[in-house]
C-alpha cells in the first residue's frame, strides 16, 4: 500500500513539476521542519470540536506572550483527533472521549491524556408558556428516551415540577445520530443511574435508540436547531450551545438528591467529587459524581500527546504551552462556558507534564518550573 502510494504521489508530483508548479517551503516527504525560515516554531493540533473556542483563545493569547511559537488547532471531531495522533500527523490531538485501550495500542508510543477543561451536557427543550427551568430526574429523562413517558403532562414529570403548568402534548425527544462524545457522556450517565436504560439503549457514542421514539439530528448544532424549530421537543447538547443561545436548560437531580443547574462551579465540583476515582492515566468518566452541588452530566476534555517527543524543540514548546494552558489559561475558561480544572487535578496534570521527554530527557524540569 505504501509503495503504491508513493508511486502515485511521484506521478502527481512529476506532473506538478511539468506544469511548472513546484511546492516551495519545507521539503515534502521529510519530517516536519522544526523551524521555518523566520525562526518560528509551529505546532499543529487537531481533534474535538467541543473545546475549539477555548483552544483558539489559548493559542491566540499564548502567541501574544511567545510570538515565535505558532500553534494551530483545528477541529475535526474527537475520533479525528485520535486517528491523527496515532498516525503522527499532528503534534497533539484532542478528544472529549478517553481513548480505548485497543486504540492506544495502535500508536507507536505511549500516549498521555492531559485533561484541559471540563464541560457539561445539558437538557434543553421547546415548551411554550414554561419559563421556569424544569426539574428532571435521570429516571424521567431515561423514560422519555425509552418511549415510556409520552406526554409532557405525564404525572412522573409533574411530580417534580409542582407549580409548572405542563402542556398536554406529545414529547419528541431528539438524539444525536452521528457518533459523538456528547452522546457518550449523556448515555453513560443514564446507563449508570437507570438500569432499564442500560439494558435497552446502553452507554455508547452511538447507541441503538429505540425504534419509533424520537428523531435524530447530526452534531450539536443539528440537535439545537431541531429543538429550536420544533415545538414540544427535548434534546441534549453541550453546555456552550445552550448558554450561548440562551436556550432553557433543565435542573438535573444529582446523586445527593438535589436538583442542580449546569453552572461552572457545579461542573468543576463533579471533577473534585470524583477525584478519588481518577486512575493514574487520567482516563475517567465523571458522570453522576458525589457532592451536594455536583452537576451530574459532566466530563473532561483531553489533549493527547506522546510521552516521548521526537523533536526536542517542538516538544519543549508543546510542554510549555500545556503548562501555561492549565495554569494561566484557565482564567479564560468561564467566559466561554467551560469549567476550569480543580486544583487537585491540576497537580496531577503537572506530574504528567513533567513526565514528557525527548531523547530521554524531561522537557520541563521541576526546579525550573518552581522558580516561575
Amino acid at each position: 500500500m505504501r509503495t503504491f502510494a508513493k508511486i502515485f504521489l511521484a506521478t502527481i508530483l512529476t506532473l506538478n513539476l511539468i506544469l511548472g508548479l513546484a511546492c516551495s517551503g519545507d521539503p515534502i516527504g521529510g519530517g516536519d521542519g522544526t523551524t521555518d525560515s523566520s525562526g518560528n516554531i509551529s505546532l499543529q493540533g487537531a481533534g474535538a470540536s467541543f473545546p475549539k473556542p477555548i483552544y483558539e483563545k489559548w493559542v491566540n493569547e499564548y502567541q501574544k506572550i511567545n510570538p515565535k511559537i505558532r500553534i494551530d488547532y483545528q477541529s475535526k471531531g474527537s475520533g479525528g483527533g485520535q486517528k491523527d495522533i496515532i498516525a503522527e500527523i499532528v503534534n497533539f490531538g484532542a478528544s472529549d472521549d478517553p481513548m480505548k485501550d485497543e486504540d492506544m495500542e495502535k500508536a507507536k508510543g505511549e500516549i498521555l491524556h492531559i485533561p484541559t477543561v471540563l464541560g457539561a451536557v445539558v437538557m434543553t427543550y421547546n415548551l411554550e408558556g414554561v419559563d421556569k427551568p424544569l426539574n428532571l430526574t435521570p429516571e424521567v429523562i431515561a423514560a422519555i428516551y425509552l418511549g415510556d413517558i409520552k406526554k409532557w403532562n405525564d404525572p412522573k414529570i409533574a411530580a417534580d415540577n409542582g407549580d409548572v403548568k405542563l402542556p398536554d402534548a406529545e414529547i419528541l425527544p431528539i438524539y444525536r445520530n452521528d457518533s459523538s462524545g456528547t452522546t457518550a457522556v449523556f448515555t453513560d450517565y443514564l446507563a449508570k443511574t437507570v438500569p432499564a436504560f442500560k439494558e435497552k439503549i446502553g452507554a455508547s457514542k452511538q447507541p441503538n435508540w429505540v425504534k419509533g421514539v424520537g428523531a435524530g439530528a447530526p452534531r450539536n448544532d443539528g440537535v439545537m436547531g431541531q429543538v429550536k424549530q420544533t415545538p414540544n421537543t427535548i434534546g441534549y447538547v453541550e453546555i456552550a450551545f445552550a448558554k450561548a443561545n440562551k436556550l432553557p436548560t433543565a435542573l438535573i437531580k444529582n446523586k445527593a438528591g438535589n436538583f442542580v443547574d449546569a453552572t461552572i462551579d457545579n461542573v468543576s465540583a463533579a471533577a473534585a467529587g470524583s477525584i478519588k476515582d481518577m486512575p493514574e492515566d487520567m482516563r475517567v468518566k465523571i458522570t453522576n459524581a458525589e457532592g451536594d452541588n455536583t452537576y451530574p452530566i459532566s466530563s473532561y476534555t483531553y489533549i493527547l500527546v506522546y510521552k516521548q517527543q521526537k523533536d526536542a524543540v517542538k516538544g519543549k514548546a508543546l510542554v510549555d504551552f500545556l503548562w501555561w494552558a492549565v495554569h494561566d489559561g484557565s482564567q479564560y475558561a468561564k467566559a466561554l462556558h467551560y469549567a476550569p480544572l480543580p486544583k487537585e487535578v491540576v497537580e496531577k496534570v503537572e506530574a504528567k507534564i513533567y513526565s514528557i521527554t525527548a531523547d530521554g530527557k524531561p522537557l520541563r524540569e521541576k526546579a525550573k518550573a518552581a522558580g516561575e
Partner: protein, 294 residues
C-alpha cells in the same frame, strides 16, 4: 491523450483497491448479507446497508422526477422558444444555481424548505393524497421528500446545461424543414427532442451521478435515520450522509470498515445505474434509427 485517460483508470483502480482493502473486516464478517441487512447498530457491531441503499436510490429518484422535466422545460425554453437576448442572461442565472455550495443548500433547506414542507406542501399532499402510503405519517419537514427536493434543485442546472448544449447542436436545417412543412413550434421541438434523445439521456445520467453522491445538503435535511419507510415524510439516510456524519468520529475498526464498505457499495450502485442508463441510451438511439446526434 492516452496517458490522461489512463489517469482516470488508475485513480478508480486505486480507489477501489483502497476501499476493498479497508473494508475487508466487514466483508469477511458479513459477506453479501451486508447488502441486505436492515439493521445498523454500531453499538452492537451489527451492520446492514439496505436502509442506506434504499435511501440513496429513492431520494435520487425523487430528485430526478422533479429535476428532469424542469430541466427539459428550461432547456427547451432557452434554445427553442426564447429570443437570444432573453435566453443568454436566463441561461447564465440558471447555471449560477450550480455555483451555490452544497452546504448553503443545506442551510437554506433547514431554514426555508423544511418549514415550507411542514406547513404547506406536506399538509396539502396529506389533504389530497393522504390515502397513498407515500404521504402518510408524521410531518416534521425533515425527511426523504425534503432531501430529494433539495437534490432536485442542485441537479437541475447540471441537467439543463447539458441538455441545452445538446439541443443547440441539432442542425438548424431540421427546424427550418419542419417549420416549412407547416409544423408548429412545439411540433418542431418534439422532432428536435427526438433527435437529441441520446444526449438528453446522457444529461440525466450526469444528474443522477451528482444526486447519488450528494453529501452535505442532504445530510442536513434528510433526517438521518436508517429505516425503510413507505412514507416520504419519514426521515431516511443516504450512503453519502452516513459517511459524512460518522467517518470523522469512527475509530473502532469494524465500524470504520463498515463505513468504507458503504462507500464501496455506493461505487457499485453507481456502476449498476450507469450500466442501466447506458442500456437505455443504446435503445433510444436504436429506436430513432439514423437520428443520432453525432
Amino acid at each position: 491523450m492516452l496517458i490522461f485517460a489512463t489517469t482516470i483508470l488508475l485513480t478508480v483502480v486505486a480507489m477501489i483497491f483502497m476501499m476493498v482493502w479497508n473494508s475487508m473486516p466487514t466483508i469477511k464478517q458479513f459477506g453479501i448479507g451486508f447488502l441486505f441487512g436492515r439493521d445498523w447498530q454500531p453499538a452492537s457491531d451489527i451492520y446492514g446497508a439496505l436502509p442506506f441503499i434504499y435511501g440513496t436510490i429513492v431520494s435520487s429518484l425523487i430528485a430526478l422526477i422533479i429535476a428532469v422535466p424542469l430541466s427539459l422545460g428550461i432547456a427547451i425554453f432557452l434554445v427553442e422558444q426564447a429570443p437570444k437576448k432573453v435566453a443568454t442572461p436566463i441561461a447564465f442565472l440558471v447555471e449560477l444555481l450550480a455555483a451555490i455550495p452544497s452546504v448553503v443548500y443545506g442551510l437554506w433547506g433547514i431554514f426555508v424548505l423544511a418549514p415550507f414542507i411542514r406547513n404547506y406542501l406536506g399538509v396539502f399532499l396529506q389533504d389530497y393524497f393522504g390515502w397513498l402510503p407515500l404521504f402518510q405519517g408524521r410531518l416534521t419537514g425533515i425527511g426523504m421528500l425534503t432531501g430529494g427536493m433539495i437534490m432536485a434543485l442542485m441537479v437541475t442546472p447540471i441537467i439543463t446545461a447539458v441538455v441545452r448544449d445538446v439541443l443547440e447542436v441539432v442542425p438548424t436545417q431540421q427546424r427550418e424543414a419542419a417549420l416549412a412543412l407547416g409544423a408548429t413550434k412545439w411540433e418542431t421541438t418534439k422532432i428536435v427532442l427526438g433527435n437529441a434523445a441520446s444526449g438528453i439521456a446522457g444529461a440525466v445520467v450526469l444528474g443522477l451521478g451528482r444526486a447519488l453522491g450528494e453529501t452535505m445538503a442532504v445530510t442536513m435535511v434528510i433526517g438521518n435515520s436508517p429505516q425503510i419507510s413507505a412514507s416520504l415524510f419519514e426521515p431516511a439516510y443516504t450512503i453519502a450522509s452516513v459517511l459524512a456524519a460518522n467517518f470523522a468520529e469512527a475509530t473502532d475498526s469494524l465500524y470504520l470498515s463498515a463505513l468504507i464498505e458503504m462507500g464501496l457499495v455506493l461505487f457499485l450502485v453507481t456502476f449498476v445505474v450507469n450500466g442501466f442508463a447506458k442500456l437505455l441510451v443504446a435503445r433510444v438511439a436504436k429506436g430513432t434509427g439514423t437520428a443520432k446526434v453525432t
